[in-house]
């Protein structure tokens, strides 16, 4: 199997997080896997133990999508949004809002797909409504593992120098 590049996560501005990843497939196929419910349900699952009983996607500008995840204990988490731009198979812009607002409100997610030699580079930019919203998301995700931060800094820096 062909090796694909590792996932890269960067924070280019104080309101954005960008993820980049290469997939060993044509762009149209990746686009389908990102937008067809029967395919999305199989991979967009988050932490282990969660399933995705609800996955509805109305793929058109102004159309809505709705995702609900459920874990073994019956805990549920839902989110959804509206498509603002769809350029198959290269670009998609959608709003994203979690039911319990743990990301600090609505975010705007821009997905771009670029194909080179039958591989596709996906870049996903999550843009928070404000710096405060981004900070709220950071605070929710923050833990107190101070000693581990050195290792993580190493990882961050290693990535930067590549």
């Amino acid at each position: 199997m062909t090796k694909t590049a590792a996932l890269k996560v960067t924070t280019p501005t104080d309101r954005e997080v960008v993820m980049t990843r290469v997939f060993d497939a044509a762009r149209g196929m990746v686009f389908d896997a990102l937008t067809k419910p029967e395919l999305v349900k199989r991979w967009l699952l988050g932490p282990p133990g969660w399933t995705m009983p609800v996955c509805e996607i109305d793929l058109r500008v102004g159309g809505k999508y709705r995702y609900v995840w459920e874990n073994a204990d019956g805990r549920k988490m839902g989110m959804g949004g509206t498509f603002q731009e769809i350029v198959r198979p290269s670009r998609m812009v959608a709003t994203e809002s979690y039911d319990d607002h743990w990301t600090g409100g609505e975010t705007l997610v821009t997905t771009e797909l670029v194909e080179t030699r039958s591989k596709t580079t996906l870049s996903m930019t999550v843009r928070y409504a404000s710096r405060e919203a981004r900070d709220a998301a950071v605070k929710m995700g923050a833990t107190k593992g101070v000693e581990a931060s050195y290792d993580r800094l190493d990882d961050l820096l290693k990535e930067e120098t590549h």
Binding site: L7, F23, D24, L39, T143, R152, L157
Partner: protein, 132 residues
């Protein structure tokens, strides 16, 4: 005390610069004076001091009171807040994207099968000789 939002914003702004990231990487190995920090960068001490001020304002480093050279040291907590978040994000999406890899491989295999079948259909078949 500064509100957290201010601190986090300063953290991200401070981390956005490659020289400052390199300074943090250096300080992760132990404290260092301004002169020691300036050395590998081909930068003047005042230029390094500017970067150090940004890092200090963000709470990412502090200066030791003892000794004339006042060495700087890394303050891990604000960094932990910011990097933990990125790390969590990365973990979550790494899992998702691995599963997406598998879905794509399956789609490719299916597509290949379909294409092979189509090719099989259009391939000229050897004609049977009519029995006389």
């Amino acid at each position: 005390m500064k509100p957290t939002s201010y601190t986090l914003d300063a953290t991200f702004a401070a981390l956005a610069d490659p020289t400052r990231r390199a300074i943090l990487a250096r300080l992760a190995t132990g404290e260092a004076s301004v002169a020691e920090l300036a050395e590998p960068f081909d930068m003047s001490q005042p230029a390094i001091s500017k970067h150090l001020k940004v890092l200090e304002r963000a709470g990412l480093i502090s200066r030791s009171r003892e000794a004339q050279r006042r060495p700087r040291r890394l303050e891990p907590r604000p960094l932990a807040e910011a990097t933990d978040w990125i790390e969590r994000y990365r973990k979550l999406w790494e899992g998702n994207f691995k599963r997406l890899d598998a879905v794509l491989q399956e789609l490719k295999a299916k597509q290949k099968k379909t294409v092979d079948a189509l090719l099989e259909d259009v391939k000229p078949k050897p004609r049977k000789r009519k029995p006389r």
